[in-house]
Symmetry: C2
Subunit: 246 residues, 2 copies
């Protein structure tokens, strides 16, 4: 009888091709699977709460796998960290029911998009935030953010070419916080479409610059027209903060 382990993970996405295993490039999923093999000798599938793209960071990604190993579940993360590279580490491990599925039973996800406002690149901010310039009205960003809260068809807020059953998602909340030259956009929802948070962040930024009106955002939600919105902001500013389960 195998044991299902829930892992909480953090990674610096800079050097990875994203969560999912690819033909080329180093993936987070592949590194975790290799680490489990190193520790247990078992070749397992590690299922994440969802994919994160190349360059996207995580403070609290969640994944699960099944093992027959004798490693105590609550100590598994420390064993894995002895073999994981410095860019990916497990923060916690615990035994969960076989009904737990990191992907299918996830109820809420929270992402954060980080921006900084500066007329020149700042080396100590560049790794985890996108630089913006010009006058940005935070109240306009907050006002635009309110439009997105609730159940909507977010088709206009997803990268073209992605195939999903439905583009309807529920956004529970969007906050915009400013501290000095740093701006953080936090988005919590029941699930996200491909590039959705990066497109939301881009639209809110454009709203804050006075280049995108609230009626245009409403129209984008109504029509699903991606071209009404802004460009997708870069991956490096995005971080998966947490994934919640019932």
């Amino acid at each position: 009888m195998s044991t299902r382990i829930k892992l909480t993970l953090s990674y610096d996405g800079t050097d990875f091709c994203g969560w999912q295993k690819q033909k080329t490039g180093v993936s987070v999923q592949g590194l975790i699977e290799d680490a489990v093999f190193s520790i247990t000798g078992e070749r397992v599938s590690v299922i994440g709460s969802g994919r994160t793209d190349a360059g996207v960071h995580a403070k609290g990604q969640v994944a699960h796998f099944d093992t027959n190993s004798a490693v105590p579940p609550e100590k598994f993360y420390k064993a894995l960290n002895t073999v994981l590279p410095s860019g990916v580490k497990a923060l916690k491990s615990e035994k969960v029911s076989d009904k737990f599925n990191a992907n299918r039973t996830a109820k809420r996800k929270t992402y954060e998009y980080s921006l900084y406002s500066s007329d020149t690149e700042q080396p100590l901010k560049e790794r985890y935030a996108a630089r913006v310039y010009g006058v940005i009205d935070i109240e306009k960003m907050r006002s635009a953010a309110k439009i997105l809260v609730g159940e909507h068809d977010f088709k206009a807020f997803s990268a073209t070419g992605s195939s999903v059953k439905t583009t309807v998602r529920t956004v529970y909340g969007v906050s915009v916080e400013k501290s000095g030259e740093d701006i953080k956009i936090k988005v919590c929802g029941n699930g996200f479409l491909y590039n959705m948070v990066r497109i939301i962040a881009g639209a809110l930024l454009k709203a804050g610059k006075g280049e995108l009106s609230e009626s245009e955002i409403v129209k984008a939600l109504e029509t699903g027209d991606r071209t009404l919105l802004a460009e997708t902001l870069p991956a490096k500013g995005l971080c998966l903060l947490k994934v919640e389960y019932e």
Copy 2:
């Protein structure tokens, strides 16, 4: 008649051999001198407020150089940034009097040492902070910090082997701030000995853990005995925040 330019610089020290030019390795000073050459065709000496070691970061290092170029002083930083690599950027440039010397006329420097308390490595914190574990009493750290304020012989707080005329320095203030699992130690003084801030941070940490008493710190100041204190903390947690002039 040449013009003296004061530069304010920020860098991520991770990939550099430090401020100063070395026989091997990429130095910040060397990169700035090469950038000035690219822009002006002049081979100048760029003088920094002081050396920062390999791996140490800076938000506000200050340097100066003399130029005969026609580039407007206040726009020099943007010109340099077009040729500087992403790890080093100039934040500001201005014309100063020939009496200004980034090194000799510096009056106050402020450094910050960043720690985070966690039982496991966190990839998103590792680049700019040192990890610590165990119970840390912030009030004990603050109390120990007060002992260091004032004019003292900081011989015990400098790496052995450094040759300076005097090991007497004035520390204007030391603050210890905690936010969640993050601890930041800020030290402001008229100048610092080799490794001084990293040794101060190590001593305060040890005091916070209850492993170094206040009387031992007093004794270290009185005797100059380096062995009474703690280990030097790693370079990556250290950042030169600002350098002030009259």
